[in-house]
Symmetry: C2
Subunit: 571 residues, 2 copies
């Protein structure tokens, strides 16, 4: 039996558009003699639909679209489509009103509906907000083959692999007991660095343990902050990769189930990426491309400071949208160095994008004049520094508004963590392209980008980072060296380490304490940040839910010697 | 037995500070011969602690603080404290690693721990993100009295009252079967208009149905967007209110359980509010006061446009922080009417607050000059309007940064819904005071405020609302009349009605369609808005989780005749 994986890129909520994508892929798969087609989790509405699911009209529309799709599909092809089903007994038994579901469409009809059993409710996932857990193992019979159906998280609870359970049941174990021939999984698993390696290792463990071939169909595409990397794959009973779709692009791949050997046969295998930098680059390019496209922008604008962050974002935008669709605006002030302009122009030339220069000295003077009376007797400080950044933010938004461009913001994760950025200034934008990329990774991405010749001008890579908001300023006046800062942040944010643990790892206690304070105090800025493309297991944004008006840091010291182990998080 | 309710106002994460509040209240209750003291849900850390709960150091610190509190409390007083307990078997059985818990402290020890059974995961609540459900009915025996312990949501599943079940179990029914003498509830139930009436009606139904006296202890205070109104109360077996604490302030009230009659006796009953406007006013004043205090601000600044929104916010801020702590800044442009200045000054005088005037004409000219070349051949439009708003936003932030003031933003809910506001301009601020208050309610609040004499100048109430960003502009050039707009928004946002249903209620289809489009398109602005004080059952903010890059509105028409009933949401 030939089984196809439709690695599609749905737009959230676009039911007719997504149905059309499924239909076209199905026609292609049918033309290639596939018997079964898998699509990603919630493929009909795209993942994550979030609070659109609370709208009864939306749920009803999904149902209508599903019925229509069933009628339109090639009759001889069985198709698994991700959708929702109403929990009609919810008002009697209690529980949420929807099931996250997979529909089996065949011969013009919705033949069966299966419910997701394990509902992720952590990090960016809110599935308990909408869904009730399915209670039974799901499978169907197609041409004498018993095929187990799982949805995303259903495969993420192998207690042998994890060394602990995250949910009471393990759906793959239940299906193995039922003796199915094959397990399929419809996923919408967002990208983070190294995630694919983890997915394959995890499913390899389950395939071998339960002696089950597994076919894993993942969504591809950027949806707001989340980037879905695709890389759907299939494993045979021995846990060997028999098929892998491409990363970060739509794909349609086929894998043959040999009914004699009762196992999957070798098919096409897309190569893995050479480096984490290459993988992250692909993710960010797709994230920008899809956010712009799905928000109906064709052109973007960004400020070019001559620094490395805006240089990287300009390069990503150029790769995503084409050089003719990127405008870089230089906005030097009297505090800007000469190289800030020359480096930015060199970058623009390397990328082939249009650049414009708007000098902000007179506008700064204007604000100084306006505020002179109120500010009498005060010293130049943060207020004046921020004014410059906000003048630039205003100019960029004016250009964006005037010409219908999407403004990209260029702050990195290290800055966002400690608040080394100006709210309503350089934080302005519809999308924060690298707000989940630590500064040290910004450097390594630029080095990778320059591997075959200069794209990011050398001087941008070697000069000391500076916001240039006052004469002679460099970042390290206010921050520890980025290697140190990023290591502290990694321990604090990703590893949930206490101050004592971070100090025990060799960091200066004064610096650790200052960084922890800065991270807590910057919460109000992060709350108002644009969506930022997520590339790590813990990004600021939808999966980071911190109180602003709180006093935990203030009392931290009393408890900072407590030694605890960090939790582990799945998916 | 004398039972006391400590209606405290904790600061999120401030474990020593909150423990001290509990201790001081306990000493006072003990001095008044109370035998049992109730505190709110999660009283030790404040509700909601959000992702602080993911930090193992924080959880460990709570445990230490709880043990210390047990030792410090008056030994003869039993105290119920809201805290978390680790689910030590989570790694074996699956499930979340914490229980939302109540600890019974007595005689220097933690005597018993009870787990919350029903975990709200909807609207602003994310409890499945952190907690596992408790599986058993909770009670303890104190001086021969069996006291059932419930936590907040545990009492919100009476299927007779709701006409449906939201959870499989009803903890109060379980306790009634066990034959307890009394049920207590530790709550952190956020305010919305009319909520107290609803709470009392719901618990009255359960008290009568199960023949159980109920004591309900609610948190008070503002925590970011959420305002907890307190109004803790007690009902006897007949469902009659025997005691009610004050709204929107800390309180300590006592109620006597008569061991002969096996019921609660009449105690002090704080009066209900005269009107919804009075209640909302109290909520907003507390919200501003606590956000400022808990973020360690003593002074606020806001822009005074001469319009009704900023006038109301100035009045709220003055009531919250005192007239000496509020600065109003007038920033007229050449498009500003004369009355915009005179009305704002009259307001400032009525409130007794300091005002300053910064004219922005020259700064506008500066931006026009800077952008003249790029904007050659284009017409004055949204871009130019927004520049003005962003100049004002920059000036206000400069003042806030310079003097350490909190900037309050002044946009109302109607504007936020349709995007009639400027991102990085008038949306700037640390707190959006009235972003959950529809424009029609803004008027009624001002009328209420003026009931005993003019506070909001009459001309502000009677003139046509205008953003004054171009000559002769009024809001109704771009928007339907606010009575119409607010009714459409209420149906769309709160009642989950389809376009067809809203039209069927008598609205113009063209207007309905336009409003729906505007609401969807403004999502990117709302995502970057400051936290806004929640006063309705559906506010933009933490409980509103919509995709930005989506296309649901675009396909709405195909399905808009679908007729469905709106869901109901608990708590």
């Amino acid at each position: 039996m030939k089984i196809a994986i439709a690695q599609i890129n749905p737009t959230i909520g676009d039911l007719p558009g997504n149905a059309q994508k499924i239909l076209e892929t199905a026609q292609q798969a049918a033309a290639e003699d596939a018997r079964l087609l898998l699509t990603p989790e919630l493929s009909l509405c795209g993942y994550p639909p979030r609070d659109l699911l609370l709208n009864p009209t939306f749920v009803e529309a999904m149902n209508i679209a599903l019925q229509q799709l069933a009628r339109d599909l090639p009759p001889k092809l069985a198709v698994l489509v991700g959708t929702v089903e109403e929990n009609t007994k919810a008002h009697i038994t209690g529980g949420k009103t929807l099931f996250n579901s997979t529909a089996l469409l065949e011969e013009g009809k919705v033949k069966q509906i299966f419910h997701k059993r394990l509902l992720p409710t952590y990090d960016v996932f809110d599935e308990h907000r909408y869904f009730e857990s399915g209670l039974q193992a799901n499978y169907f019979t197609l041409d004498n083959l018993d095929i187990g159906v799982t949805i995303c998280e259903d495969l993420w609870n192998d207690e042998e692999f994890w060394g602990k359970r995250s949910y009471a049941v393990n759906p793959i174990a239940d299906l193995a007991i039922l003796g199915v021939d094959l397990i399929v999984n419809l996923s919408a698993s967002p990208y983070s660095v190294g995630k694919q390696h983890f997915r394959e290792a995890m499913l390899r463990h389950s395939a071998v343990r339960f002696q089950q071939p597994v076919i894993y169909a993942n969504q591809v595409g950027g949806n707001d902050d989340l980037i879905f990397d695709g890389r759907s794959f299939a494993l045979n009973r021995q846990g060997e990769v028999m098929c892998r779709a491409h990363g970060f692009e739509i794909d349609l791949v086929m894998v043959e189930f040999d009914e004699v050997q009762r196992d999957l046969q070798l098919s096409s295998i897309a190569p893995e990426y050479e480096s984490e930098d290459e993988e992250i680059w692909q993710a960010l390019v797709l994230g920008v491309k899809d956010y712009a496209r799905k928000c109906r922008f064709s052109k973007v604008v960004l400020g070019l400071s001559g620094g490395i962050d805006s240089a990287l974002v300009a390069a990503i935008a150029t790769a995503a949208l084409g050089k003719e669709n990127v405008l870089g605006v230089l906005m030097p002030s009297p505090y800007s160095s000469e190289h800030s302009v020359s480096d930015a122009l060199a970058l623009g030339e390397n990328l082939g994008i249009k650049t414009d220069i708007l000098r902000i000295g007179e506008l700064m003077q204007g604000f100084d004049n306006s505020l002179a009376e109120m500010f009498t007797g005060t010293e130049f400080g943060i207020a004046e520094e921020n004014i410059q950044s906000r003048i630039r933010g205003n100019l960029l938004m004016a250009i964006a508004n005037k010409f219908g461009y999407l403004l990209l913001s260029t702050g990195n994760k290290s800055e966002m963590a400690v608040g080394y950025c100006t709210l309503y200034g350089d934080m302005n934008g519809g999308l924060a392209v690298i707000s989940d990329v630590p500064k040290t990774r910004v450097y390594s991405l630029c080095d990778w980008l320059n591997r075959n010749g200069e794209i990011i001008p050398q001087n941008i890579l070697t000069k000391a980072p500076s916001a240039e908001l006052k004469p002679g300023q460099v970042d390290q006046d206010s921050l520890p060296a980025y290697e140190i800062l990023d290591d502290i942040l990694q321990r604090l944010i990703h590893n949930y380490q206490s101050a004592a643990q971070i100090v025990a790892a060799g960091h200066d206690p004064t610096i650790v304490d200052r960084v922890i304070q800065m991270v807590a105090r910057a919460e109000f800025k992060r709350r108002q940040a644009p969506p930022g493309l997520k590339i790590t297991d813990r990004a600021f944004g939808t999966g980071w839910r911190m109180p602003i008006a709180s006093n935990w840091v203030g009392v931290k010291k009393a408890y900072q010697t407590v030694n605890v182990t960090a939790p582990t998080f799945v998916q």
